[in-house]
Protein backbone atom coordinates (compact mmCIF):
# COMPACT_ATOMS: atom_id res chain seq x y z
CA UNK A 1 0.00 0.00 0.00
CA UNK A 2 0.94 3.63 -0.45
CA UNK A 3 1.91 5.54 2.66
CA UNK A 4 2.38 9.27 3.13
CA UNK A 5 3.30 10.93 6.41
CA UNK A 6 2.87 14.70 6.55
CA UNK A 7 3.49 17.36 9.16
CA UNK A 8 2.85 21.09 8.73
CA UNK A 9 6.56 21.67 8.40
CA UNK A 10 7.64 18.87 6.07
CA UNK A 11 6.92 15.52 4.47
CA UNK A 12 8.29 12.78 6.70
CA UNK A 13 7.78 9.73 4.56
CA UNK A 14 6.32 8.73 1.23
CA UNK A 15 6.46 5.33 -0.38
CA UNK A 16 5.11 1.82 -0.67
CA UNK A 17 4.98 -0.18 2.52
CA UNK A 18 3.66 -3.42 3.85
CA UNK A 19 1.91 -2.00 6.88
CA UNK A 20 2.03 0.55 9.65
CA UNK A 21 1.62 0.44 13.42
CA UNK A 22 -0.01 3.48 14.96
CA UNK A 23 -0.77 4.75 18.46
CA UNK A 24 -4.56 5.19 18.37
CA UNK A 25 -6.23 7.21 21.10
CA UNK A 26 -7.76 4.01 22.41
CA UNK A 27 -4.74 1.80 22.04
CA UNK A 28 -2.18 0.89 19.45
CA UNK A 29 -3.32 -0.68 16.18
CA UNK A 30 -2.00 -1.76 12.84
CA UNK A 31 -3.06 -1.03 9.26
CA UNK A 32 -1.97 -3.61 6.74
CA UNK A 33 -2.17 -3.80 2.97
CA UNK A 34 -5.75 -3.54 1.61
CA UNK A 35 -7.28 -2.38 4.85
CA UNK A 36 -10.88 -1.15 4.62
CA UNK A 37 -11.40 2.64 4.52
CA UNK A 38 -10.84 4.09 7.96
CA UNK A 39 -10.29 7.45 9.60
CA UNK A 40 -8.77 7.33 13.05
CA UNK A 41 -7.51 9.74 15.64
CA UNK A 42 -3.96 9.23 16.93
CA UNK A 43 -2.45 9.98 20.30
CA UNK A 44 1.14 10.70 21.30
CA UNK A 45 3.30 7.62 20.98
CA UNK A 46 5.39 5.40 18.78
CA UNK A 47 4.66 4.83 15.11
CA UNK A 48 6.30 1.98 13.26
CA UNK A 49 6.48 1.72 9.48
CA UNK A 50 6.73 -1.87 8.24
CA UNK A 51 8.57 -1.41 4.98
CA UNK A 52 8.61 -5.13 4.29
CA UNK A 53 8.60 -8.18 6.51
CA UNK A 54 12.01 -7.46 8.01
CA UNK A 55 12.77 -3.73 7.67
CA UNK A 56 11.02 -1.25 9.94
CA UNK A 57 11.38 2.41 10.85
CA UNK A 58 10.13 3.89 14.10
CA UNK A 59 9.04 7.46 14.86
CA UNK A 60 7.96 9.26 17.97
CA UNK A 61 4.86 11.23 16.99
CA UNK A 62 2.53 13.78 18.50
CA UNK A 63 -1.19 13.57 18.04
CA UNK A 64 -2.84 13.54 14.65
CA UNK A 65 -4.99 11.54 12.27
CA UNK A 66 -4.74 8.71 9.83
CA UNK A 67 -6.89 8.11 6.79
CA UNK A 68 -6.87 4.96 4.69
CA UNK A 69 -8.71 4.92 1.39
CA UNK A 70 -8.17 2.97 -1.84
CA UNK A 71 -5.08 1.32 -0.41
CA UNK A 72 -3.52 4.71 0.26
CA UNK A 73 -2.80 5.69 3.85
CA UNK A 74 -2.15 9.27 4.88
CA UNK A 75 -0.87 10.10 8.33
CA UNK A 76 -1.25 13.73 9.40
CA UNK A 77 0.62 14.59 12.56
CA UNK A 78 1.94 17.76 14.10
CA UNK A 79 5.44 16.49 14.69
CA UNK A 80 7.50 13.35 14.11
CA UNK A 81 10.96 12.43 15.32
CA UNK A 82 12.81 9.44 13.92
CA UNK A 83 13.88 6.85 16.48
CA UNK A 84 16.68 4.46 15.81
Amino acid sequence: MQLEILTPEHKVFSGTVYGIQLPGVEGSFEILDRHAPIIASLGKGKMKILKDKSATAAYEISEGFVEMINNKATVLIEDAKALD
Partner: protein
Amino acid sequence: MSGQLKEVRNRIKSVTSTQQITKAMKMVSAAKLRRAQDSIIQMRPYAQKLQEMLSNIVSGASSGVSLPLAEERPVEKILFIPITSDRGLCGAYNSNVIKLTRQIIKEKYAAQEAKGNVTILPLGKKGYEAFLRLGYKVVDNYWTVFSDLSFDNVRNAAVYAQEAFLNKEYDKVEIVYSQFKNAATQAFVSEPYLPIPKVENAEGSKKKVDFMFEPSMETLLRDLMPKILNTQVYKAVLDANASEHGARMTAMDKASENANELLRNLKISYNRARQAAITTELTEIVSGAAALQG
Protein backbone atom coordinates in the same frame (compact mmCIF):
# COMPACT_ATOMS: atom_id res chain seq x y z
CA MET B 1 33.21 76.26 -8.65
CA SER B 2 35.27 73.62 -6.85
CA GLY B 3 32.80 73.89 -3.95
CA GLN B 4 30.02 72.64 -6.16
CA LEU B 5 32.21 69.85 -7.46
CA LYS B 6 32.87 68.62 -3.98
CA GLU B 7 29.19 68.68 -3.14
CA VAL B 8 28.33 66.51 -6.12
CA ARG B 9 31.16 64.14 -5.29
CA ASN B 10 29.83 63.70 -1.76
CA ARG B 11 26.35 62.98 -3.00
CA ILE B 12 27.68 60.38 -5.40
CA LYS B 13 29.48 58.73 -2.53
CA SER B 14 26.41 58.64 -0.30
CA VAL B 15 24.11 57.36 -3.05
CA THR B 16 26.59 54.62 -3.87
CA SER B 17 26.72 53.41 -0.29
CA THR B 18 22.93 53.50 0.00
CA GLN B 19 22.72 51.47 -3.15
CA GLN B 20 25.07 48.93 -1.68
CA ILE B 21 22.74 48.54 1.28
CA THR B 22 19.60 48.15 -0.84
CA LYS B 23 21.37 45.63 -3.05
CA ALA B 24 22.42 43.61 -0.02
CA MET B 25 18.91 43.73 1.42
CA LYS B 26 17.54 42.52 -1.87
CA MET B 27 19.86 39.54 -1.84
CA VAL B 28 18.98 38.71 1.74
CA SER B 29 15.28 38.92 0.96
CA ALA B 30 15.68 36.70 -2.06
CA ALA B 31 17.31 34.03 0.08
CA LYS B 32 14.67 34.34 2.79
CA LEU B 33 11.93 34.33 0.20
CA ARG B 34 13.14 31.03 -1.15
CA ARG B 35 13.02 29.52 2.31
CA ALA B 36 9.59 30.98 3.07
CA GLN B 37 8.32 29.73 -0.25
CA ASP B 38 9.63 26.26 0.48
CA SER B 39 7.91 26.07 3.80
CA ILE B 40 4.59 27.12 2.37
CA ILE B 41 4.92 24.55 -0.39
CA GLN B 42 5.64 21.91 2.25
CA MET B 43 2.62 23.06 4.18
CA ARG B 44 0.08 22.91 1.38
CA PRO B 45 -0.35 19.12 1.06
CA TYR B 46 -0.90 18.85 4.80
CA ALA B 47 -3.54 21.56 4.83
CA GLN B 48 -5.22 20.15 1.77
CA LYS B 49 -5.36 16.62 3.12
CA LEU B 50 -6.73 17.83 6.43
CA GLN B 51 -9.49 19.66 4.63
CA GLU B 52 -10.21 16.55 2.55
CA MET B 53 -10.42 14.41 5.64
CA LEU B 54 -12.88 16.80 7.19
CA SER B 55 -15.14 16.70 4.17
CA ASN B 56 -14.88 12.90 4.14
CA ILE B 57 -16.06 12.80 7.71
CA VAL B 58 -18.77 15.37 7.18
CA SER B 59 -20.09 13.64 4.06
CA GLY B 60 -20.16 10.37 5.98
CA ALA B 61 -21.94 12.05 8.87
CA SER B 62 -25.61 11.83 9.52
CA SER B 63 -26.82 15.40 9.16
CA GLY B 64 -27.41 17.57 12.16
CA VAL B 65 -24.12 17.22 13.96
CA SER B 66 -23.82 20.41 15.94
CA LEU B 67 -20.44 22.06 16.10
CA PRO B 68 -19.92 24.86 18.59
CA LEU B 69 -17.14 26.38 16.48
CA ALA B 70 -19.48 26.67 13.51
CA GLU B 71 -22.31 28.27 15.43
CA GLU B 72 -23.57 31.41 13.73
CA ARG B 73 -24.64 34.18 16.05
CA PRO B 74 -25.80 37.70 15.36
CA VAL B 75 -22.61 39.68 14.94
CA GLU B 76 -22.11 41.96 17.90
CA LYS B 77 -18.44 41.64 18.67
CA ILE B 78 -15.72 41.11 16.11
CA LEU B 79 -12.10 40.11 16.27
CA PHE B 80 -9.75 40.93 13.41
CA ILE B 81 -6.42 39.19 12.97
CA PRO B 82 -4.30 41.30 10.61
CA ILE B 83 -0.96 39.73 9.76
CA THR B 84 1.87 42.19 9.10
CA SER B 85 5.63 41.97 9.30
CA ASP B 86 8.05 42.90 12.08
CA ARG B 87 10.19 45.10 9.88
CA GLY B 88 9.60 47.85 7.41
CA LEU B 89 11.30 48.70 4.12
CA CYS B 90 9.01 46.42 2.18
CA GLY B 91 7.06 48.88 0.11
CA ALA B 92 3.36 49.25 0.77
CA TYR B 93 3.03 45.73 2.17
CA ASN B 94 2.22 46.58 5.78
CA SER B 95 0.19 49.66 5.05
CA ASN B 96 -1.92 47.67 2.59
CA VAL B 97 -2.84 45.12 5.25
CA ILE B 98 -3.67 47.85 7.73
CA LYS B 99 -5.61 49.83 5.15
CA LEU B 100 -7.67 46.80 4.14
CA THR B 101 -8.51 46.01 7.76
CA ARG B 102 -9.67 49.55 8.44
CA GLN B 103 -11.63 49.66 5.22
CA ILE B 104 -13.52 46.47 6.09
CA ILE B 105 -14.25 47.73 9.58
CA LYS B 106 -15.56 50.99 8.16
CA GLU B 107 -17.63 49.39 5.42
CA LYS B 108 -19.10 46.35 7.11
CA TYR B 109 -18.88 46.87 10.83
CA ALA B 110 -19.27 50.59 11.40
CA ALA B 111 -22.13 50.03 13.86
CA GLN B 112 -20.11 47.59 15.94
CA GLU B 113 -17.13 49.91 15.84
CA ALA B 114 -19.21 52.77 17.18
CA LYS B 115 -20.07 50.62 20.17
CA GLY B 116 -16.42 49.76 20.67
CA ASN B 117 -16.94 46.11 19.83
CA VAL B 118 -14.16 45.74 17.31
CA THR B 119 -10.99 44.15 18.65
CA ILE B 120 -7.72 43.61 16.85
CA LEU B 121 -5.32 40.74 17.42
CA PRO B 122 -2.31 41.79 15.40
CA LEU B 123 0.38 39.32 14.36
CA GLY B 124 3.60 41.16 13.54
CA LYS B 125 5.08 44.27 15.09
CA LYS B 126 4.15 46.79 12.42
CA GLY B 127 0.47 46.03 12.67
CA TYR B 128 0.62 46.03 16.45
CA GLU B 129 2.17 49.49 16.52
CA ALA B 130 -0.16 50.88 13.91
CA PHE B 131 -3.41 49.69 15.49
CA LEU B 132 -2.27 50.81 18.92
CA ARG B 133 -1.55 54.25 17.49
CA LEU B 134 -4.91 54.36 15.76
CA GLY B 135 -6.58 53.72 19.09
CA TYR B 136 -8.17 50.33 18.46
CA LYS B 137 -8.71 47.76 21.17
CA VAL B 138 -5.70 45.50 20.79
CA VAL B 139 -4.96 42.03 22.15
CA ASP B 140 -1.24 42.35 22.70
CA ASN B 141 -0.10 38.85 23.66
CA TYR B 142 0.66 37.35 20.30
CA TRP B 143 2.16 39.97 18.00
CA THR B 144 5.68 38.56 18.36
CA VAL B 145 5.09 35.38 16.32
CA PHE B 146 7.54 36.42 13.61
CA SER B 147 10.51 36.68 15.95
CA ASP B 148 10.39 32.89 16.24
CA LEU B 149 8.15 31.51 13.54
CA SER B 150 6.97 28.05 14.50
CA PHE B 151 3.76 26.10 14.43
CA ASP B 152 3.55 26.14 18.23
CA ASN B 153 3.71 29.93 18.50
CA VAL B 154 1.11 30.48 15.87
CA ARG B 155 -1.12 27.86 17.43
CA ASN B 156 -1.28 29.83 20.68
CA ALA B 157 -2.85 32.77 18.89
CA ALA B 158 -5.26 30.48 17.04
CA VAL B 159 -6.29 28.74 20.26
CA TYR B 160 -6.91 32.10 21.90
CA ALA B 161 -9.28 33.10 19.09
CA GLN B 162 -11.13 29.77 19.25
CA GLU B 163 -11.58 29.87 23.00
CA ALA B 164 -12.73 33.46 22.98
CA PHE B 165 -15.22 32.56 20.27
CA LEU B 166 -16.54 29.63 22.28
CA ASN B 167 -16.85 31.85 25.36
CA LYS B 168 -18.87 34.27 23.25
CA GLU B 169 -16.33 37.05 23.66
CA TYR B 170 -16.48 37.44 19.89
CA ASP B 171 -19.18 36.45 17.44
CA LYS B 172 -17.02 36.60 14.37
CA VAL B 173 -13.31 36.34 13.65
CA GLU B 174 -11.63 37.43 10.43
CA ILE B 175 -8.05 37.11 9.27
CA VAL B 176 -6.61 39.84 7.08
CA TYR B 177 -3.38 38.93 5.34
CA SER B 178 -1.61 38.85 2.06
CA GLN B 179 -1.67 35.70 -0.01
CA PHE B 180 1.57 34.91 -1.70
CA LYS B 181 1.19 34.73 -5.49
CA ASN B 182 4.73 35.25 -6.63
CA ALA B 183 7.67 37.40 -5.65
CA ALA B 184 6.24 40.53 -7.21
CA THR B 185 2.52 40.17 -6.49
CA GLN B 186 0.57 39.72 -3.32
CA ALA B 187 -3.17 39.46 -2.97
CA PHE B 188 -4.51 41.16 0.11
CA VAL B 189 -7.52 39.29 1.41
CA SER B 190 -9.81 39.06 4.37
CA GLU B 191 -10.81 35.53 5.23
CA PRO B 192 -13.65 34.53 7.51
CA TYR B 193 -12.17 32.37 10.25
CA LEU B 194 -14.90 31.79 12.81
CA PRO B 195 -17.64 30.64 12.78
CA ILE B 196 -16.34 27.94 10.47
CA PRO B 197 -17.80 28.49 7.02
CA LYS B 198 -20.16 25.67 6.12
CA VAL B 199 -18.26 22.71 4.76
CA GLU B 200 -19.43 21.74 1.32
CA ASN B 201 -20.47 18.16 1.25
CA ALA B 202 -18.33 16.13 -1.11
CA GLU B 203 -19.56 16.64 -4.66
CA GLY B 204 -22.26 14.26 -5.81
CA SER B 205 -20.04 12.78 -8.49
CA LYS B 206 -17.65 11.46 -5.88
CA LYS B 207 -18.71 8.02 -4.86
CA LYS B 208 -19.36 7.70 -1.20
CA VAL B 209 -16.98 5.60 0.81
CA ASP B 210 -18.04 3.85 3.96
CA PHE B 211 -15.40 4.77 6.44
CA MET B 212 -14.80 3.18 9.77
CA PHE B 213 -14.37 5.84 12.41
CA GLU B 214 -12.05 5.35 15.30
CA PRO B 215 -12.97 6.18 18.09
CA SER B 216 -16.21 7.80 16.85
CA MET B 217 -17.28 10.35 14.33
CA GLU B 218 -18.24 12.98 16.89
CA THR B 219 -14.92 12.71 18.69
CA LEU B 220 -13.06 12.88 15.40
CA LEU B 221 -14.89 16.00 14.34
CA ARG B 222 -14.31 17.60 17.70
CA ASP B 223 -10.58 16.84 17.45
CA LEU B 224 -10.22 17.68 13.80
CA MET B 225 -11.87 21.11 13.90
CA PRO B 226 -9.30 22.88 16.10
CA LYS B 227 -6.49 21.21 14.14
CA ILE B 228 -7.81 22.56 10.91
CA LEU B 229 -8.29 25.99 12.41
CA ASN B 230 -4.75 26.04 13.77
CA THR B 231 -3.43 24.98 10.41
CA GLN B 232 -5.40 27.69 8.68
CA VAL B 233 -3.79 30.41 10.77
CA TYR B 234 -0.36 28.89 10.32
CA LYS B 235 -0.86 28.80 6.59
CA ALA B 236 -1.93 32.44 6.59
CA VAL B 237 1.18 33.35 8.58
CA LEU B 238 3.44 31.49 6.17
CA ASP B 239 1.71 33.14 3.23
CA ALA B 240 2.22 36.52 4.84
CA ASN B 241 5.84 35.74 5.56
CA ALA B 242 6.57 34.80 1.97
CA SER B 243 4.70 37.90 0.77
CA GLU B 244 6.73 40.09 3.08
CA HIS B 245 10.02 38.88 1.68
CA GLY B 246 8.67 39.12 -1.85
CA ALA B 247 7.52 42.67 -1.24
CA ARG B 248 10.83 43.64 0.32
CA MET B 249 12.75 42.13 -2.56
CA THR B 250 10.74 44.10 -5.08
CA ALA B 251 11.00 47.30 -3.06
CA MET B 252 14.76 46.94 -2.72
CA ASP B 253 15.13 46.14 -6.40
CA LYS B 254 13.26 49.34 -7.25
CA ALA B 255 15.41 51.27 -4.80
CA SER B 256 18.62 49.97 -6.37
CA GLU B 257 17.31 50.88 -9.79
CA ASN B 258 16.42 54.37 -8.64
CA ALA B 259 19.86 54.75 -7.14
CA ASN B 260 21.37 53.81 -10.49
CA GLU B 261 19.31 56.46 -12.25
CA LEU B 262 20.27 59.02 -9.63
CA LEU B 263 23.94 58.14 -9.97
CA ARG B 264 23.79 58.52 -13.72
CA ASN B 265 22.35 62.02 -13.41
CA LEU B 266 24.80 62.99 -10.70
CA LYS B 267 27.73 61.80 -12.77
CA ILE B 268 26.56 63.88 -15.71
CA SER B 269 26.29 67.00 -13.60
CA TYR B 270 29.62 66.24 -11.95
CA ASN B 271 31.35 65.98 -15.30
CA ARG B 272 29.63 69.09 -16.52
CA ALA B 273 30.78 71.05 -13.49
CA ARG B 274 34.32 69.74 -13.87
CA GLN B 275 34.35 70.66 -17.54
CA ALA B 276 33.06 74.13 -16.75
CA ALA B 277 35.73 74.62 -14.11
CA ILE B 278 38.49 73.64 -16.53
CA THR B 279 37.12 75.87 -19.26
CA THR B 280 36.95 78.88 -16.96
CA GLU B 281 40.47 78.26 -15.75
CA LEU B 282 41.78 78.02 -19.32
CA THR B 283 39.95 81.17 -20.36
CA GLU B 284 41.45 82.99 -17.40
CA ILE B 285 44.99 81.89 -18.27
CA VAL B 286 44.61 82.62 -21.96
CA SER B 287 43.07 86.02 -21.43
CA GLY B 288 45.64 86.80 -18.76
CA ALA B 289 48.46 85.96 -21.19
CA ALA B 290 46.78 87.98 -23.92
CA ALA B 291 46.55 90.98 -21.60
CA LEU B 292 50.29 90.76 -20.81
CA GLN B 293 51.23 90.59 -24.47
CA GLY B 294 48.89 93.36 -25.44
